[in-house]
Subunit: 412 residues, 2 copies
């Protein structure tokens, strides 16, 4: 089945916002076996939008629309849909009740502008919005199904995954296409390419390199007549590829490294304390994205000043004076110090120069020392990372998390 | 003048890559006074691309195309252009010489596939590529100008800014368009809409609401005959709008709240210490994105466990036992405790239930207490935030930063 995606909003056609919804929807449709033939961006203009909707309804069997469902004067998608297909807006009572209930639950009265979101084109079906106020809409025009979702990405995703995807999946029953993403850290695209050179021509899956800021992802895509065959093809490709890259693969299923490390910590029942300088709380922030991490993460100290390193981590001020705050010795003292004070299994420390200023000839911007303290020892890593302040922070955080991963994996 | 942008590539229609070129080009065109009416994404298919090119040439006076100019088998834009407008590919000698020279300079022989990039549609003009091998192309079809740029963003930008923009600017001599983004927090789209209801019809600028997960942005776009007039129209709109929304506006120029707060702290020479529970280091991470923040941010404590709250912040364990870790009392003790220990001007604390588990009837998921301690006092805020774990964290962090902003602003 061929599909089109329509993205509505002046913020897109003016370039003020980068559209990420179409990419999400195209990927998800691909997983269901639906190929996207066209993506159309159009501004907040009823006639333009109605025109695009009519064209798409003629040319495609499935149309996904995002944007313009909100409560303000420039949210015109409901009107455009009504105009495109010759219907009118009517009050959808269940939606109106749902909106009032959402506000009542917070002790508020729904404003008039919000109540207008319950006006839907007569004949359209609504789709529950689990994370927002505006419901999704479905309109069927001569066999073409048009799904309309809000422009807010979290709402578009929520409605797509809970309502649209299940409906489409139920009906497709066609070729199964599955993609698996292997994620790596600490190895370059060309190093991986060399290691895989011999097996690539023989793989029964499509292999794409996706270099990301903090590592290289490998996307494997298999196509076959049934689900078992696609999964088997992926399995077999994974088992050929992974041994060649070794421990630089941290996920076989596309998870972020903090999810992998957080879940390993919880599963191994290991406790961790953090002492961050150059990463500035980013390691703590990433790990606390993982539900249940409170069982493992005892504390995090963002010791940005030398005073804080001395007072909160017990780093000796002479050590800082002698070696500088960005040094192997101070990283080791930070990791051991936080581990001891928190009485945890592991202590992880970062210290470095995130930039843009503060670099010297011997200690350039991007120099980072990482330390992982455990019972009876401490591992140190030294990296010189490239990129601006935010990238140095992100790359240092990922490398630090990777030390925890390797430590736990070697003890499995 | 109305324009269309066409983005070519399977990586876009499959969702493997997010298209950023169209957003860049739309913004740049806007600055020259050219409005983009439509953005079309299409896969690597000669017939589809040729069809889109023909449609666009009929409907618009200016068409910008990116993608499909590279050396590989799926780079088909040159062929599609030839097919769309009934011409054939011929060798462009200056381009062929340029390509050979680029390779010779590196001591290499140009591969055959790369040499094919010198084949251009007969009748097309080429545009120099200052940062890559593939030249840009210009094709004129019955008065419509079609500019074709590579898909690699750095190459598209280089050719656009050095060749396309100057050509368009020379000819337009028309309207200037400028956009300003006001950012708000703690007020809903519909509340803003009501407050502005009276002035909206009289504004001399276009107003768009851009709801984000952590607040609502307002984009103001002015169009006028010269730069001074557009800037004056924006100034006047800002001065009408801002007083109606009051202190809920945290930026008049589109900055993130952590940038605003970080720069205020540095400018006011105020020091800050953080005590984070539910935000898990996110506030520290955001503030440490701001260069120079080390002068203000003394430390951050991620006190995830009760033990850490007691040991690192001096919170009394009886207080936690009596009121629970998520309570006004504990928030206050965390903020005061970290401020005292760090000897800073301000102490900022967060405690709450980020979810997905841990909620109770009286303390639901999303309940957050925030505290800001200063000399002689402590402010408390209580919020019930919606969304998943990551959204609750982000929303709590933004609200916490906003307390610092309001405190500093009230003392200016």
């Amino acid at each position: 089945m061929n599909a089109a995606i329509i993205v509505i909003g002046d913020e897109i056609t003016s370039g003020r916002k980068i559209d990420t919804n179409s990419s999400y929807l195209a990927r998800e449709l691909g997983e269901i076996g639906v190929a996207v033939a066209r993506i159309v961006g159009v501004g907040d203009d009823i006639k333009e939008v109605a025109g695009v909707l009519r064209e798409a309804a003629r040319a495609y069997r499935l149309v996904l629309v995002t944007g313009g469902l909100g409560p303000t004067h420039d949210d015109l998608t409901r009107q455009a849909l009504a105009e495109a297909f010759g219907t009118r807006l009517v009050l959808d009572k269940p939606t109106a009740a749902y909106i009032e209930e959402r506000f009542r639950a917070r002790g508020l009265e729904a404003p008039e502008a919000v109540k207008a979101m319950a006006l839907v084109p007569e004949g359209a079906r609504t789709l529950a919005n689990p994370v927002g106020t505006a419901p999704g809409l479905v309109w069927v025009e001569r066999g073409t199904e048009i799904y309309v979702l809000p422009g807010v990405p979290s709402e578009a995703k929520a409605i797509f995954s809970t309502s649209v995807a299940p409906e489409l999946r139920r009906r497709s029953g066609r070729d199964f296409i599955k993609t698996r993403v292997l994620r790596t850290v600490g190895i370059t695209e060309s190093e991986i390419s060399e290691k895989l050179a011999k097996v690539i021509p023989e793989l029964k899956v499509r292999l794409a390199f996706l270099p990301e800021a903090t590592g290289v992802d490998l996307a494997l895509t298999a196509t076959a007549g049934d689900e078992a065959q696609t999964l088997a093809a992926l399995e077999s490709a994974v088992s050929e590829i992974v041994p060649l890259i070794g421990d630089r693969v941290y996920s076989l299923t596309g998870e972020e490294i903090h999810t992998v490390v957080g879940e390993m910590l919880i599963e191994h029942r290991k406790t961790l304390a953090l002492a961050e300088s150059c990463t500035g709380g980013l390691v703590a922030h990433l790990l606390t994205e993982v539900p249940g991490i409170s069982a493992s993460l005892e504390r995090g100290i963002v010791a940005y000043s030398n005073k804080a390193k001395v007072e909160t981590l017990g780093v000796c001020s002479d050590l800082i004076a002698e070696h500088g705050a960005v040094s192997e010795e101070v990283a080791r003292a930070m990791a051991s110090g936080v581990r001891e004070r928190a009485a945890t299994d592991l202590g992880l420390a970062t210290t470095g120069i995130a930039g843009p200023t503060g670099g010297t000839e011997t200690k350039p911007v991007g120099l980072v020392y990482l330390a992982l303290a455990y019972r009876g020892g401490c591992e140190i890593a030294r990296h010189v990372l490239t990129g601006g302040r935010d990238l140095v922070k992100r790359r240092a955080a990922v490398r630090a998390l990777d030390m925890v991963r390797c430590y736990l994996a070697s003890r499995e």
